[in-house]
């Protein structure tokens, strides 16, 4: 159990290190500003209204479902292509018929 937790922390640490590295690679200025106080929970509860635009925090279930369907279709197409390609190059010898 302890081993698993240590591994979990190791992967998390690697991910954070890579993420921070990527951030400073793209934005060397590193414009981070800290505001005093934790717990600006207004932002969490603000976005539940469906009547707002997306940028204002609104949402649309129908559009989301359409998007998910599209992504699933993409996954299906890629899977089909990969399986077909693997079948073509699987290198199975052709069936030999004898008299």
């Amino acid at each position: 159990m302890l081993k698993s937790i240590m591994r979990f922390l190791l992967i998390l640490l690697i991910a954070i290190a890579l993420g921070v590295g990527f951030y400073y690679l793209v934005q060397p200025a590193g414009q981070v500003s800290f505001r005093s106080g934790i717990g600006n929970l207004v932002n969490v509860s603000r976005d539940f209204g469906g009547e707002h635009g997306f940028r204002e925090g609104g949402f649309s279930l129908t559009r989301g479902l359409f998007g998910i369907t599209g992504n699933l279709m993409l996954i299906a197409v890629v899977t089909f292509i990969v399986i077909s390609t693997r079948k073509i190059f699987s290198g199975k010898p052709a069936t030999i018929t004898t008299r």
């Binding site: 979990f8 992967i11 890579l18 981070v32 929970l41 949402f59 996954i75």
Partner: protein, 174 residues
Amino acid sequence: MKSLKTNFWLDAFILAGFLVALQPRMTGISIHEWFTLAATATLIVHVLLHWDWVIGITKKFFSNLFHISRLNYLVDGLLFIGFIVVITSGLVISQSVLPTFGIQIAGSRSWREIHNLSSNLTLLFVALHFALHWSWVKNTFNRLLIKPFPHRVPQARALPQPMNTASMKDAKAL
């Protein structure tokens, strides 16, 4: 069997969660951000469950190795990097998670573009990852969801019944 079940259901939840996370319009920005951040933990658990495979292939990567394993390893590595870029850029343009902790980063339009591009590329890598593990998905699906419900067993053929006296008489008459 237990680990197979755990793997299968965890992977199914990760895939479903990833598809939902890719559609912030479906949930709104706040839920999108908090949900994705929470889902990161499940991704790490996924890697943990395959820890031995990762270590084994890392050790053998440059030696003689079956090519599909190497391809899997490359796709998985790219997937890992893709997720890191998605999460980092998502945090930079965050409107809900970081402000909650009192942190504000001057995210720009470029970061938004990076976030969109990396999430689309990550979707492609997820599709490749799924495709490369298709046989496992198919077999496990069959084993866990189809086989537990056995097909209707065809009724046993009727055994020949002993003839009663009346039918024996009929037979003799014939």
